[in-house]
């Protein structure tokens, strides 16, 4: 398995995507912003297709759209936590724009590149190039470093915003920076698991970690570890059974881990 170059690329890029998603996802779940993460993943779709329709590099479109989207969402919402209804209306329209770009792109491109939309939506981790992997690793390291630097005040602001702001923690700015970071990770993960599925990597391992432990540092490590495990197991399964798409297997594994963590108390009650 490791002899194949595409597989090595997928594993390296996937690992960094997994770690970044696991860490940032832990805060996303803590702050109950899973819906915002979902909306950002849809913004990623529109950004990538807008770039494709305009003939610009797809990665540029991805990053501009998701980071900009994250900051917009934070700015629109109350105390940098956007309201569900605002998010819903905004991203319905964003997706509508994405469809427009998709149709412009598919009608204009002479190559008849009809699968571009599918690749953006559901990822193409087995098709990553050397540069894609390098970018993915660099972004994973960057996002992790920024998040770790902000971790303590962000934790404070997330748990009790009122007390934190009384203590002089810049709650609003932190919220904006955080959503920008979520956007960065969303763009990074879009290339691996696709715009529609990255929510699974953000929410499921983090949800499981929150279920298993209330301690922040342990929870963060656990969340990253579970996301990493989901990526590795998913990729291996997809390699062994080639009919199963890799992104589906990664997300199914992640959700499986989450379901196992959720049913743990039930199991204990049945056994004991």
């Amino acid at each position: 398995m490791l002899a194949q170059e595409f597989m090595r690329n997928a594993l390296v890029a996937g690992s960094f995507v997994g770690i970044a998603c696991g860490l940032i996802g832990w805060f996303v779940v803590l702050r109950a912003q899973v819906f915002a993460g979902d909306a950002l993943s849809h913004v990623a779709f529109t950004g990538a297709l807008a770039a494709a329709a305009l003939g610009v590099d797809v990665r540029a479109g991805l990053f501009v759209a998701t980071i900009g989207g994250g900051i917009t969402m934070g700015a629109l919402g109350d105390r940098a936590r956007a309201d569900d209804v605002v998010i819903g209306t905004l991203f319905a329209w964003t997706l509508g724009l994405g469809v427009l770009f998709l149709s412009i792109f598919t009608t204009n491109s002479s190559a008849g590149n009809g699968t571009a939309g599918v690749r953006v939506l559901f990822g193409s981790i087995f098709g990553l190039s050397r540069t894609d992997v390098e970018i993915s690793v660099a972004l994973g390291v960057l996002a992790t470093a920024v998040l770790m630097a902000l971790a303590r005040p962000l934790l404070f602001a997330s748990v009790d915003a009122a007390v934190a702001s009384a203590q002089g923690v810049p709650v609003r700015v932190l919220g904006l920076v955080f959503l920008g970071l979520v956007g960065l990770v969303a763009a990074q993960a879009t290339q691996a698991v696709g715009a529609l599925l990255l929510l699974g990597l953000l929410a499921a391992p983090a949800g499981a970690a929150h279920r298993l432990t209330a301690r922040p540092w342990l929870g963060l490590a656990l969340s990253a570890g579970l996301a990493l495990a989901a990526v590795w197991i998913g990729l291996t399964l997809s390699y062994v059974f080639p009919t199963l798409p890799p992104s589906t297997m990664v997300i199914s594994t992640a959700v499986g881990i989450y379901a196992a963590a959720m049913s743990l108390p039930l199991l204990r009650r049945l056994l004991g």
Partner: protein, 297 residues
Amino acid sequence: MGGSWSSARPTSTGTMLTSSVFTGLSWNPITDGRALFTFPFMQHALAAGTIVAVMAGVIGWFMVLRRQTFAGHTLSVTAFTGASAASLAGVPVLIGYFGICGAGALALAAAAGTRRNLSTESAATGSIGALALALGFLFVSLYHGVLNGLDSLLFGTFLGITSSQVLVLLVVAVAGIAVVGIAARPLLFASVDPDVARAGGVPVRLLGLGFLLVLGLSVAETSQITGALLVFALLVTPAATAQLLTPRPLLGVVLSVALALAVTWIGLALAYFSIYPVGFYITSLSFAAYLVARILA
């Protein structure tokens, strides 16, 4: 009925350009208006769009009131899974839509039932949604034939709606609206203040479960026109606009339905005369209405 439907759909947005749909605008309102109603497919599309818009307007108003937009989005995503699973299994697509959306509503209700706080609930909802999409993609890739139809499953099309489909949509919409209409008063009470409602003897949990099921039904309906990803344009945006404009329940529901209808009709007409997908027009029009209302309010 629905089995042949997926093959009757356009293979991609690209084909819409060359198909007979693009008849162009003559700029004579009478001829253009008549052209809109000439073809059976367009009559079916308008009828289906009307039914779907009314249902989405009513149910969406309650959904926005209950702040269940995330649940609605997750259910709409399961509609995609249902349609692709049904295509793979060779059963009518409608069964897939309604079956899986109903199951999704039950799963969401179960996840919400064990909730301890907001964050675990949103993690559960997100995980269910991602799993549904992942499975949908799996079914689509196992069923090689439909990969080109993926765009229309996700983003909707108004082509190839049969008259029996319109009939099913009508029956489900009438049933759904009737249920919500009968339960409207306690549902309103339970949505606005669940604690007081519970103390007053209103079965809040049962109402919540019932509402999720009706929401599942209406999402399954809406996604057949707008596609699984754009359900929100009809379900959330008109309702959110209506709630910005008026706090009064009955007026709000009427306004929400009127907006959904207007957006659907104009969107279908625009899509008929242009080369761009109907989903783009419906989402953009409803978002424009929302923006105007926000500025006015």
